[in-house]
């Protein structure tokens, strides 16, 4: 049964002063199976983060619909948990308070909410840091807390917006395998956004490629790698082939960004 169905989502923005309209996302559709890990990659500015915000219900699309388990989505809800980019923990709350934020927002009493998130804090590897403020944690640890906060509301779908973008290369690799371990324990449906090709392949069952603005889905690549995946799977020939295919898809889009057709003629 599909967990998430996105049908013909289009997003049109109006520029503030000129009132000129532009299309950020153009008729994007996808169907995501329950418990699968799907990643969207695309050049920067292609609208992939916007798409995720639409799925979360933070912004309304100009046209099109989102359904989670058959229910139409118009606002944020506990069936979806968002892992934001770095530094989205509330700085004045401890790890424990941050992780309990979603549950408390839904009316769960503070004590009970904090009790319930303790096992999650342990699962993401932050035991012992419950009472630290975000500024006392490394960025990697902050993102672990971020994941725990999203999991705490027990969502059906986990939405992840380039959660490892701010990490150094080594920490990022480590966090990727940690994420797979956590995903394996929870088996949530995951919709993940990144611009990192190896991250997309390593994590996902399926990678969707978005074009430059206006964002459209231009490729849908199944990832046939077996799980569990050790990190050195990134150095196998099949991994390299997948990376090549995604890069071929993206290269045209990025070239278009860097040197638009008009500019190229002048060269």
């Amino acid at each position: 049964m599909p967990s998430l169905v996105i049908s013909d989502v289009t997003m049109i923005y109006e520029r503030p002063r000129t009132h000129e309209r532009f299309r950020a996302i153009d008729r994007v559709s996808m169907t995501i199976d329950e418990s699968s890990f799907v990643t969207i990659i695309g050049p920067s500015g292609c609208g992939k983060s916007t798409l995720l915000a639409i799925v979360d219900g933070l912004i309304a699309p100009s046209a099109g619909t989102i359904e989670v388990e058959g229910r139409p989505i118009t606002a944020p809800g506990p069936d979806r948990g968002m892992v934001f980019q770095e530094a989205s923990l509330l700085p004045w709350y401890t790890t424990l308070e941050n992780c309990a934020y979603g549950l408390e927002s839904q009316g769960v009493p503070k004590k009970e909410a904090q009790q319930r998130v303790l096992p999650l804090i342990e699962m993401v590897g932050l035991k012992g840091f419950e009472h630290n403020y975000p500024a006392e944690l490394s960025i990697g640890m902050q993102q672990r807390a971020n994941v725990a906060r999203a999991l705490a509301v027990d969502p059906e779908i986990l939405l992840m917006d380039e959660p490892f973008a701010a990490l150094d290369a080594q920490t990022r690799e480590l966090m990727q395998s940690e994420l797979l371990r956590i995903w394996d324990q929870t088996r949530k449906t995951v919709l993940f956004i990144t611009h990192q090709l190896d991250e997309a392949i390593y994590l996902s069952d399926r990678v969707l490629v978005m074009s430059g603005r206006p964002g459209r889905i231009i490729d849908d690549v199944p990832i046939p790698l077996e799980r569990p995946r050790p990190l050195d799977i990134k150095r196998t020939p099949i991994f390299a082939e997948l990376e090549q295919r995604l890069w071929d898809d993206l290269r045209r889009e990025i070239e278009e960004e860097v040197a638009p057709a008009g500019a190229r003629e002048q060269w």
Binding site: Q85, W92, Y93
Partner: protein, 266 residues
């Protein structure tokens, strides 16, 4: 615990922070200046009626501290200042928060806040005297007026500075408007609110003293201006030192309060 073993003769790069040195140099500076002041006036290089001398100020201080009228003056200034500051804080925070949260309220309050920002506070004095006379009410209103503005404008800046990403988090997790206000907007604005309170505390003291200069019949400002017109320079100097001391105490208190509310900042 392990001890680092250095090769003999190593030059260890030390921390350059010296708290005792800071205190010693500070005290030495003050004592040095007092000594210089005393010396210059004793040597007859300047007239004592113009700047008095530390030993005279000390004598005056002793006389004042043991006299009844002096404490009445202190009480008068402190009461205007404290009552004015507390009321200004409450009103300023409410104006700032409400203006920050509701866009249309902000459109209304913005011109007023901007106008009071550019107009010197004391320019309102004649008007206030006209409305409130020259008693306690006038002094309180002046202090209140000055303080409210600083608190309001900083609180408003705090709400506006609250980062969109935190508001998005609250929205994403389904926090109600009231909860978003309580868990994001207020704590997010708090550093700015504290800045506003610190500014307001010292400006309110200035306002309290100025109001006594202009229209008082008691208070430290009145004491200073009266002493000045009778050429009692020692009393003027004593008053100035006392106000400086008060200012230091207040900024210390507010600073401690600030750190207490800011423990999450590293």
């Amino acid at each position: 615990m392990s001890t680092a073993v250095e090769p003999p003769g190593s030059a260890v790069r030390r921390s350059r922070y010296r708290p005792t040195a800071r205190l010693m140099y500070g005290v030495a500076g003050v004592l040095g200046l007092l000594g210089l002041w005393e010396g210059v006036s004793r040597a007859g290089l300047v007239q004592t009626v113009l700047i008095s001398r530390p030993s005279d100020v000390a004598v005056t201080a002793y006389q004042e501290l043991t006299s009844g009228p002096f404490w009445g003056n202190v009480e008068s200034t402190l009461s205007v200042w404290i009552v004015g500051f507390l009321l200004a804080s409450a009103i300023g925070i409410v104006i700032g928060l409400v203006s920050g949260v509701f866009r249309y309220v902000r459109y209304v309050t913005d011109p007023f806040l901007n106008a009071t920002n550019v107009a010197p506070d004391l320019a309102f004095v004649p008007l206030l005297i006209l409305w409130f006379g020259i008693g306690f009410r006038f002094r309180l209103v002046l202090v209140l007026f000055i303080g409210t503005f600083y608190v309001a404008i900083n609180t408003l800046a705090g709400v506006k500075s609250t980062e969109g990403r935190w508001l998005r988090v609250a929205k994403s997790f389904g926090a109600s408007r009231m909860r978003t206000f309580r868990t994001v907007l207020v704590p997010g604005s708090l550093p700015y609110i504290m800045t506003g309170l610190r500014q307001a505390a010292s400006r309110c003291l200035i306002g309290a003293v100025a109001s006594e200069f202009i229209a008082g019949n008691k208070g430290l400002g009145f004491m200073i201006s009266l002493a000045g017109s009778f050429l009692q320079t020692s009393t003027v100097m004593f008053g100035i030192l006392l106000l400086a001391l008060l200012g230091i105490i207040v900024s210390e208190i507010v600073g401690r309060l600030e750190r207490r509310f800011d423990s999450w900042r590293i």
